[in-house]
Amino acid sequence: MAEHPNVQLLRDGYAAFSRGDIAEATKDWSDDIVWHIGGRSPLAGDYKGQEEVTGFFGKIFEMSEGNFEIEVHDILANDEHAVVLCHERARRNDKVLDADSTHVYHLKDGKVTEYWGVATDQRAEDEFWS
């Protein structure tokens, strides 16, 4: 069965993110994108618009000194939603993040409009980024 085009859109986005090409990673985002970061760490909250979201990415890279990687296990998508099953690894001082996560995207007309990250262990995520 043919893969939905939004699967490839997300796959390309993660590949660009992992090589640090943020311009490429954000090219399929709508202008009014909203990035929801759950939990209770200092990073939690809603980031609105491409500038705030890429600023959030910058903060993650800075806090983990570039030791942040996402291994994509699978990508599922239809016209309206995509879910990325992944594993996140990061190091920060003497703390280690090593956990499964799901990334949920809302899409409209082939553009990413919203993101939610839902972790297996939100408390471990909060502890890592606090």
């Binding site: 069965m1 599922l76 239809n78 839902v118 972790a119 262990d121």
Partner: protein, 129 residues
């Protein structure tokens, strides 16, 4: 076109909602494992259909049958299905009201493993304590 595992998963949620567990377990492999995450009293791994049905029974009992899963969307391919859901329930004056992502690992159209990813695990823990 929708993947057939989308329809299978949708049918399983509909059967769960009306309490028709024979339909639900028919979609599980014999060695299915249900991973319930978090630190609540029901957290842990349930192995095989009997243990999983026992877990479902506890969910129904503890919430007096008020547990409802609203399925927002289902995405699937040959290997995985994911359901974007909203869970609500009442228990001893407490209200559960949260978003979750359910992930199913599939093989030949049967569920091998399940994981829940909860947007607000602390709310869940308070609810189930």
């Amino acid at each position: 076109m929708e993947h057939e595992n989308v329809e299978r998963t949708r049918a399983a949620y509909a059967a769960f909602a009306r309490g028709d567990m024979a339909v639900v377990t028919d979609l599980m492999s014999d060695d299915v494992v249900w991973h319930v995450t978090g630190n609540g009293p029901l957290a842990g791994d349930y192995k095989g259909q009997d243990e999983i049905l026992g877990y479902f029974g506890k969910l129904f009992e503890a919430t007096g049958g008020s547990l409802a899963i609203d399925v927002d969307d289902i995405l699937a391919n040959d290997r995985h299905a994911t359901a974007i859901v909203h869970m609500s329930a009442m228990r001893e004056g407490m209200i559960l009201d949260e978003n979750a992502v359910h992930v199913f690992e599939l093989e030949d159209g049967k569920v091998k493993a399940f994981w829940s990813f909860d947007s607000d695990p602390e709310q869940l823990e308070r609810f189930w304590q």
